[in-house]
């Protein structure tokens, strides 16, 4: 059955251009910027509240923001210096959040709380991971202590380390594999030990033979009886690194819609995250800096840079030789899923794995024309959805149909828009449809008590869509 499924799924996803300019360049360390801006929302979940105020002196590794909410992660300062102000900031994606602005004094005094961690049990481990402020470093930004502590942890038998890095341009995880393989391995060992997982798979795409060689050599060394570490190379196909796709590629297991990887016995961590865990246990230095790939046609000297979290993006680009011309598009993240920024003053965030800057001639988008029903998006969708039907159902406001079409399964990987010959903004439609669906579901719940039920107008998607859509 799985073989048949595999054949049927052949061709899902897309072949993105292989652009990895920065892969073989050593990571540069960026000097401290003039000021750092630390937003209080750098993770999925409840935003933090600043625990420092203007005028306070802070040290490296000191907590500047925290939250009582279960799904959250504390935020630390990466510099020693003075808190200048607490301002408000609009993050890419439109969320407004408080931000702590700190002026470094250059001394980089380390906070006394930063010391090697004593971890003896699973609970200690989860507490330590929470205290480290770690969130998914691959881009999602989900608090790692939640990921490591799912409700049905005892069923977990496989730890998957995501080093697929399928987005073009981004090489920060690859550099982690090349530069810090030992940390990755001891991080994996720690997770396997405290979560009692027998089998770990490091997933690498086939176009990174060097990373595979380095990791395979160490994997044998770090494996033990009952604690096996395996390196798997996967076909080069976007979005290989998407969690559900990755789990399927590695284990042939499929995460049911609305369920977590742990439901099918898997825990997935990004390779840089797991490497950070080992560093944190050794030193106690929380997540205050990270590696960022800086690339794109506008960047003079593309490279990976180790930066303090909160460094303004403008300074990072300046450090990489500045812009070659006028930047017309600035991305946080990769070209397939990254967010376009309105402002180069925004800081580097915890989950920010790349900064891409493009010149004018790379951003001209083709005009959207009518869907010709070629089915390329349907073929490409890794979640087996029907993007044109979802788009039509969204446009006619048919939330019942959106549910039938499993719109919430969409992970916004971008394959449908990437292949669309009519240049339709399908991902945007998916996103709006998901929003609409969430709204309708919430309204439904609110109404449930009152017993009133309003049926959304059903409409013939094909002709209605056709008559409305003239652009």
């Amino acid at each position: 059955m799985n073989a048949v499924r595999r054949i049927l799924r052949f061709g899902t996803g897309v072949r993105t251009p292989h652009i990895k300019n920065t892969a073989e360049r050593e990571t540069a360390v960026m000097p401290l910027p003039e000021r750092i801006i630390i937003p209080m929302s750098q993770h999925v979940g409840a935003p933090c509240v600043p625990v420092v105020k203007a005028g306070d002196t802070v040290e490296v590794g000191q907590v500047v923001g925290d939250s009582q909410s279960p799904i959250s992660a504390p935020i630390h300062s990466g510099v020693s210096g003075r808190v200048v102000s607490i301002t408000e900031l609009t993050l890419p994606g439109g969320v407004k959040t408080a931000a702590v602005v700190i002026e470094p004094d250059g001394e980089q005094r380390i906070h006394p709380g930063v010391k090697p961690q004593k971890v003896e049990s699973f609970d200690d481990f989860i507490k330590a991971v929470r205290a480290s402020g770690l969130v998914g470093l691959g881009g999602a930004g989900f608090p790692t202590h939640i990921k490591l502590n799912p409700p049905n942890l005892k069923d977990a038998d496989t730890l998957i380390i995501n080093a697929a890095e399928c987005e073009p341009y981004i090489t920060s995880d690859y550099r982690e594999c090349i530069e810090n393989p030992a940390d990755i391995m001891s991080g994996i060992q720690a997770v396997m030990k405290y979560l009692d997982i027998k089998h770990a798979i490091i997933a690498v795409e086939r176009d990174k033979p060097r990373a595979k060689a380095v990791l395979s050599k160490l994997a044998a060394e770090y494996s033990a009886a009952g604690r096996e570490i395996e390196v798997k190379s996967l076909p080069v196909r976007y979005p290989q690194g998407a969690e559900k796709v990755l789990i399927y590629s590695c284990t042939d297991r499929r995460v049911p819609p609305g369920k977590l990887p742990a439901n099918i016995g898997c825990i997935v961590l990004n390779v840089a995250s797991v490497s950070f865990i080992s560093k944190y246990l050794k030193t106690g230095m929380p997540l205050v800096e990270r590696r960022v790939t800086v690339d794109g046609s506008a960047v003079a000297k593309p490279q990976n840079v180790r930066v303090v979290i909160g460094t303004p993006i403008r300074d990072v680009i300046e450090f990489c030789g500045g812009a070659k011309g006028e930047i017309r598009k600035l991305l946080m993240g990769g070209p397939m899923m990254g967010l376009a920024l309105m402002d180069d003053q925004l800081p580097v965030l915890k989950q920010n794995n790349a900064i891409l800057a493009f010149l004018n001639n790379d951003v001209l988008a083709a005009r959207q024309s009518d869907c010709i029903r070629c089915g390329r998006c349907v073929r490409a969708c890794p979640m087996n959805l029907l993007p044109p039907s979802i788009e039509a159902a969204y446009r006619t406001g048919d939330t019942e149909r959106l549910e039938k079409l499993s719109v919430m399964n969409c992970m916004e990987c971008g394959c449908c828009s990437f292949v669309c010959p009519a240049s339709r903004q399908l991902v945007q439609s998916m996103r709006m449809a998901k929003g609409e669906f969430r709204k309708a579901a919430a309204a439904e719940r609110a109404k449930a008590g009152a017993g009133q039920k309003e049926k959304p107008a059903a409409a013939n998607s094909r002709t209605e869509g056709g008559l409305k859509d003239g652009e």
Binding site: K259, L331, C374, G414, P421, T463
Partner: protein
């Protein structure tokens, strides 16, 4: 650089293929059959193709202006419709009739329903059917191939399917049928050229081989079961043209693989029913048009299963 940054939804990359390029691929795939038609039926075939294309393009251009919509004549879809319409006409057809076919296909079938992607039946086939109903004599006057310049009267002969329908003997060898030396619509006869075009489209991933394979396969199996000569059935009439170029039309065929298979099987079944039991010798156009209308229903019934979901069995099967 204030306010000069372009903010748009992800993804920020595109594969670079556009509608026009796809239509260009279809035209390339049609070119062997077009060349074959000119060789087999002479300059008259080329004239019919040119008239149909011109009529379709003019109809598209004027429709978009009258409807006050963005101009789409540049996407080349009207050219494809024109060539396909011409392929479905006899080479002897009066040129003004061919032009009417183009107007019907583009204005009535395509633009009145919203233009590219929104028509629910195949424009070229409706063009052909309207011409068949309006000018039955001209639409059934078949020229024998390889006669040099065509003299319109006196040269008519029966198509292989017509002679079969009338209980006659097949006058053509398989080799002749493959190369296209037999009377028929100008683009349908040269099977080799059509297969070549189909292969090109499959290799370029413009079409999935599913529809042609299931369509032709169904006709082959059913005619064989019914005691007919299956080879003659798949090599003559408009089957190959229909299976490769008409049934695979994006707008009028299901978008998902399972739907495509059901659709193509239906096309094959109806074609055989019309050919064997109907009063018409040929049924490919009607079969495709009928199945076109059923596409929304087929798509609803064959919706692909989202990743990770289990197929829910219908209640009556659960016991």
């Amino acid at each position: 650089m204030e306010n000069k940054l372009v903010v748009s939804s992800s993804p920020h990359l595109h594969c670079g293929v556009n509608t026009r390029e796809i239509m260009l691929d279809v035209l390339i795939a049609l070119s062997p059959a077009a060349a074959a038609s000119a060789l087999l039926f002479g300059w008259r075939a080329a004239a019919v193709i040119i008239v149909c294309v011109a009529s379709c393009m003019a109809s598209e251009y004027i429709s978009r202006i009258v409807l006050k919509k963005p101009q789409t004549v540049g996407d080349l879809s009207a050219v494809v419709t024109g060539v396909l319409l011409a392929f479905n006409l006899p080479a002897t057809i009066p040129l003004w009739q061919a032009a009417i076919g183009g107007v019907v296909a583009i204005v009535v079938v395509k633009q009145m329903f919203g233009g590219i992607g929104h028509n629910f039946v195949n424009p070229a086939l409706i063009g052909r059917i309207v011409l068949m109903a309006s000018f039955p004599e001209d639409m059934n006057r078949w020229a024998a191939p390889l006669q040099g310049s065509l003299v319109v009267d006196g040269l008519t002969s029966a198509t292989p399917l017509e002679s079969l329908e009338q209980g006659g003997e097949l006058a053509y060898s398989y080799q002749q049928l493959l190369v296209g030396i037999r009377p028929g619509c100008l683009g349908e006869t040269c099977i080799i050229a059509l297969l070549l075009g189909g292969l090109y489209l499959v290799v370029r991933r413009v079409i999935s081989p599913l529809i042609p394979a299931v369509f032709v396969g169904t006709v082959f199996i059913l005619t064989w079961l019914l005691g007919e000569n299956p080879l003659v059935h798949i090599l003559s009439g408009g089957l190959m043209l229909g299976a490769v170029f008409m049934a695979t039309d994006y707008a009028t065929s299901p978008i998902n693989p399972a739907g495509k298979a059901v659709f193509a099987a239906g096309c094959g079944l109806l074609t055989v029913l019309i050919r064997v039991y109907g009063s018409l010798p040929e049924g490919v156009s009607f079969a495709i048009v009928i199945m076109n209308v059923l596409v929304p229903l087929i798509e609803r019934a064959t919706r692909p299963l989202p990743f990770g979901e289990e197929r829910r069995l219908p209640k009556w099967l659960k016991r």
